[in-house]
């Protein structure tokens, strides 16, 4: 009881503490977007998905960067620079649309219909649509791409142009030493041209060949590039080192180069 007396705080102070925490949270999450436009698309079941649009005047449209307001500043900056360079970028906020927490386990709960609807809208622009995602989010775009291809088999006008998987984390379970990885079901189901970008300073670099082969099983042309001196999630890190800061600042160029490679696959 002595302990509880020592740490006892007046109810008013507790309330103040909660208010400070709440205010900090709100300030952190409500940072304004730098997008040119924000569109809301509704799915058949009336789910509303907010899409930040960075307009580009070229013929390429990049859809992805699974994101949430406030913690995707590097992505927004990259999107802005890509748009300036002609590549239009659409950033849908899938987690908020389905009211899911920002957890890896949430990704499997994201239905594909929302993204299918957004792809449809993106194709109405007449631009070539590419998908992009990082880490475990890459499973979602592979799943969506496979479903899109099934829905529009044989329709060349509906073809997606390719996908960029940045440091994909597609293992089904925890890695087991001595055994090759078992991937998520979405791996090897699409024939979309794919570019895999992986950090050199991550153990996953050793699995890049294995993953590439698994992705090819769907008929995809797969390119894989190692980015020197960076770790996985390099543009999302709280502790970036100098090479990671440099590569993050060069991300638009890296993506443009990836789009060039994917364009060659057609």
């Amino acid at each position: 009881m002595v302990f509880t007396r020592n740490v006892f705080v007046k109810p008013a102070s507790v309330l103040k503490l909660f208010l400070i925490i709440f205010a900090t949270f709100v300030l952190n999450t409500a940072s304004a977007t730098t997008a040119d436009d924000v569109k809301i698309f509704s799915t058949n079941d009336d789910t509303e998905i907010e899409v930040r649009i960075f307009k580009g005047d070229g013929d390429q449209l990049l859809l992805g960067f699974a994101c949430d307001q406030g913690s995707s500043m590097a992505e927004e900056k990259t999107a802005h620079e890509l748009a300036m360079d002609g590549v239009e970028v659409w950033m849908p906020d899938m987690l908020s649309a389905y009211m899911l927490p920002k957890l890896r386990s949430s990704l499997a709960d994201i239905p594909t219909d929302g993204l299918l609807k957004i792809i449809e809208e993106a194709q109405k622009t007449g631009k070539r649509v590419y998908l992009i995602a990082s880490g475990p989010d890459t499973e979602l775009i592979l799943r969506v791409a496979a479903e899109w291809e099934q829905l529009h088999a044989g329709d060349d006008k509906k073809k997606l142009a390719g996908a960029i998987l940045m440091f994909p984390r597609l293992n089904k379970d925890k890695p087991e030493p001595g055994k090759p990885p078992i991937y998520q079901d979405a791996v090897g189901k699409t024939h979309l041209p794919i570019m895999v970008l992986e950090g050199e300073r991550t153990p996953n670099r050793w699995g890049i060949g294995h993953l590439t082969n698994a992705l090819k099983k769907g008929g995809s042309t797969v390119y894989a590039k190692l980015i020197p001196d960076v770790r996985g999630y390099f543009f999302k890190r709280d502790d970036p080192n100098i090479p990671e800061n440099v590569v993050t600042s060069q991300l638009p160029g890296l993506i443009k180069a990836s789009l060039f490679f994917l364009g060659r696959a057609h």
């Binding site: 006892f8 705080v9 890695p175 030493p177 001595g178 991550t202 153990p203 996953n204 670099r205």
Partner: protein, 211 residues
């Protein structure tokens, strides 16, 4: 007033469990997994950080922990002091044991800097081209293989762990004891067979018509 006090304590406990828990769950989340199948142990012959050629085959009779690690792997850094402790504990009980920590494709400079900082007291091997990483089917770090005295992979473990825990120390002691018993049994078997062979030879010699 009491309910406010209780609520505040609950809030503190909740915060500690929610936000502070992460630092406690990094290690001890993984455990040794028994390898049931008869898996062939890949070759492991590499140069150590101090330039000596080390071959896993030279440690027959000892339990060997082969770990694949990297300087950028946070759990690797955290668990290495416990690996030093594991060696000390097993040395006290005279358990034949060796750690071979294989660095995954980094430079000597990077590894030396890490070693100066973390001070692992075990052998660091340099797999600069990642050939052994591939041969051992390693796709994540840290990846661990516990090998018995006869060179067979008996346990694997992925992720950071407190290597000096009683469970792991006892498992390795038991593995060493089992190996020693097997070796003794094999040696006794050899002696018995030799004796039997000699006895048979004597008998044959005696029964030989030429004699």
């Amino acid at each position: 007033m009491k309910s406010y006090r209780q609520a505040f304590i609950h809030f503190l406990l909740f915060s500690l469990l929610t936000f502070g828990g992460a630092s406690f769950t990094v290690l001890n989340a993984a455990e040794l997994k028994k390898v049931e199948a008869d898996v062939a142990t890949p070759e492991l012959k590499l140069e150590s950080l101090d330039g000596k050629t080390i071959d896993l085959k030279d440690f027959q009779g000892s339990v060997v922990l082969v770990q694949f690690w990297a300087t950028y792997c946070t759990p690797c850094r955290k668990e290495m002091p416990s690996m030093n402790n594991l060696m000390k504990k097993l040395a006290e009980s005279k358990t034949p044991f060796k750690i071979l920590a294989v660095n995954m494709g980094e430079t000597k400079e990077e590894v030396q800097k890490f070693v100066d900082e973390v001070k692992p007291e075990f052998t660091i091997l340099m797999d600069s081209k990642g050939e052994h990483v591939q041969a051992w089917n390693v796709f994540a770090a840290p990846s661990n293989f516990v090998i018995d005295g006869k060179g067979k992979i008996r346990y694997t473990l992925f992720g950071g762990v407190d290597w000096d825990s009683d469970d792991i120390v006892n498992t390795i002691k038991q593995l060493a004891a089992d190996t020693a018993a097997d070796v003794k049994q094999a040696a006794d078997g050899d002696t018995d067979a030799k004796d039997a062979m000699e006895a048979k030879t004597d008998k044959t010699d005696k029964d030989s018509p030429e004699k």
